[in-house]
């Protein structure tokens, strides 16, 4: 009987250990050992059909491991992107092949430009930031812009280049939206939702113009604005016109038939777009 009580105590100890936090247990031994992972050499020689399958885009999400592997080798990156580009522009490709190739190209470019981390962070934090903003405004207090910037952009290294590169990607989103508009979406709604959100950032960057007396590009202007907000004692006194000459025209960017209209509606987020269209109008 005493032995049984000892066993109960041991088991209770195991349970407490299990449920008091298991940070160390969340790891993948195969990934750490590089087992079962894609290889750059193999991806370089794969055809587009194999690339689309290996990337996971056909099953609803693009594999970050796949993207990292493509970008780990310059030859692989160039070859893979060329194959995807060829499929995306080939008139003989099916809408499914075109849309998946375009989506994969966008994912590779976002990661290559270093924009994927920023995009992920912004999309992850956007909800809480909007909530914070509305709470602070409801309470009549000052908006803590520096804290919000810290949440949205914890790492501001190379921010100017990243923003400028993001702005160059509008044509990729335009092509994707045009194909979806013509043929209907063949992509998983999750993939379209992800594309819609990054397209929004790209279109905003592309549509804004910098105050050219101070900055050459929107990226430089935005990076400077972010730094100044973080370092200012009174961010509300900062004059936006010193950085941005013309803000994006949200009602035009979100009008019927635009890239954002197509992607947001296809992702089932038409209501969100309707709210966005009112900003700044």
């Amino acid at each position: 009987m005493r032995r049984r009580y000892g066993a109960y105590a041991a088991l209770l100890a195991i349970f407490i250990l299990l449920f008091s936090g298991c940070d160390a247990l969340i790891g993948n031994v195969f990934k750490e050992a590089n087992w079962g992972q894609p290889s750059a050499e193999k991806l370089k020689s794969a055809d587009t059909a194999a690339l689309l399958e290996e990337s996971g885009v056909s099953s609803g999400s693009v594999s970050s491991t796949f993207i990292d592997t493509v970008l780990s080798d310059d030859d692989t990156k160039t070859t893979v992107m060329a194959k995807l580009e060829a499929t995306a522009t080939d008139p003989d490709s099916t809408p499914e092949e075109v849309q998946q190739s375009q989506t994969l190209l966008i994912s590779i470019k976002l990661a290559d430009y270093g924009a994927d981390d920023i995009v992920t962070n912004i999309t992850e934090s956007a909800g809480s930031v909007i909530e914070q903003l509305s709470n602070q405004m409801d309470e009549g207090g000052n908006v803590d812009f520096a804290a919000i910037i810290d949440v949205l952009l914890p790492d501001t290294n190379n921010l100017a280049d990243i923003i400028n590169n993001l702005g160059t990607m509008t044509s990729d989103y335009d092509n994707l939206a045009a194909n979806i508009s013509t043929n209907g979406s063949t992509l998983d709604p999750d993939v379209v939702a992800s594309a819609a959100q990054t397209a929004l950032l790209a279109e905003i960057v592309s549509d804004a113009t910098p105050n050219t007396s101070n900055y050459d590009t929107v990226g430089e202007a935005m990076a400077a604005l972010v730094e100044d907000i973080k370092n200012s004692e009174d961010p509300s006194s900062i004059d936006m016109n010193q950085y941005i000459q013309t803000s994006p025209d949200m009602s035009a960017l979100t009008a019927e038939g635009t890239t954002l209209y197509t992607l947001f509606n296809e992702a089932g987020m038409g209501d969100v777009l309707a709210q966005l269209s009112g900003i700044g109008s």
Binding site: Y8, K31, Q37, P38
Partner: protein
Amino acid sequence: MKRKALITILLIAALAAASAQIQFSEVMPKDARSMGMGGAFRVFSQGYSSFFGNPAGFAGATSSFTIADVSAWAYLAPTSENLGRVRQIIDGSATDTQIINWVGDWMVSNNGLGAGASVGGGWVGKKGIAVGVTLVTDEVASGDSLLGSKLVSATQANGIIGFAYPIDIGPVWIKIGADGRVFYRVQSDPTTGWPFGTLLNDYMANNSIPTLDFLGGYGFAADAGLVAGIGPVMLGFTARNFGLAFNVGSFTSDDVQNQGLGALPFSGTTAAALTPTYTAGLGLRLFENTKFEPSVYAEVDDPIALFSSSDILADLLTSLHAGAQIRLLNFINIRGGLNKGWYSVGAGLDLSFLEIDAAIFTEELGAYPGDKGRSGLSVQAAIRLGR
């Protein structure tokens, strides 16, 4: 004659499945026993577990009567930070803003946030006949952000009749089994789900949830499997969810509120089918029914696809569930495993008629091991006579 009938039924089932329009995956319980061993123990399931695993496991040396087997699981990484947040939510010290922020973070960083439960009971007889009823539900919210997130809900009730038969050929023992199920399935649209961000905001703001659209319908499915062994070494295979195409109809949460269970459709017009699954495994069970009973299992999803693989080793690792259990003093179970490379641990107590188990697990949702892990914890309790 019986064999001809069986082949005909299987052919019809395969044709029906191939022409189906909506594919539903089986709603599998994330039970603590299996998840503690890396998701293994499907092929070598025994007794009640065989209602979800391999019907060959109905052929046991003893019978068991499960009065109730209840599992609950949550898709939430059990890190110390997350457990601290949960404590704050429970004790009421977290603000609405914090809760929304944490929910978004949990959903994105864990590749899904949700929970599920299963409840059931059944009898597995000494002669391999099994009868059981089970109900499994699984609710998962996922997405890149709360803004575009979706909640997919799936619930399935099953009534199962199975039979397994043991054969001994010299030193080789074989167990072969099959079962038939009638099920009722209720779920959200499997692709689009429900808008989770909107549901959460509505609930936080108004304490109410808008009208939800469901699909529902009943169908029939069959599972089959075999396990062969020499002494403690076992080899097994199971194929599940061979079903006739069934029809699902639409209804809403308001319909259920107004009409109760009468709102569930029985004559829908949209064709659907369960997606068949195949699992093969290798196991080793030593010193059975002694005070020190170790066992090791390795199982592979969709083993048939490995034959056409260009990189068998990589694909093997991408579909491998491996786990081990040590059973001490006939009532303590300690488990560990690798679920496509992700660690899992678990433990359990088997008392005279009460079994309690718990596990922490991570399962792979992505294309490669370590790509897209979803962590969670599972607890299970059963009142069972026999083992």
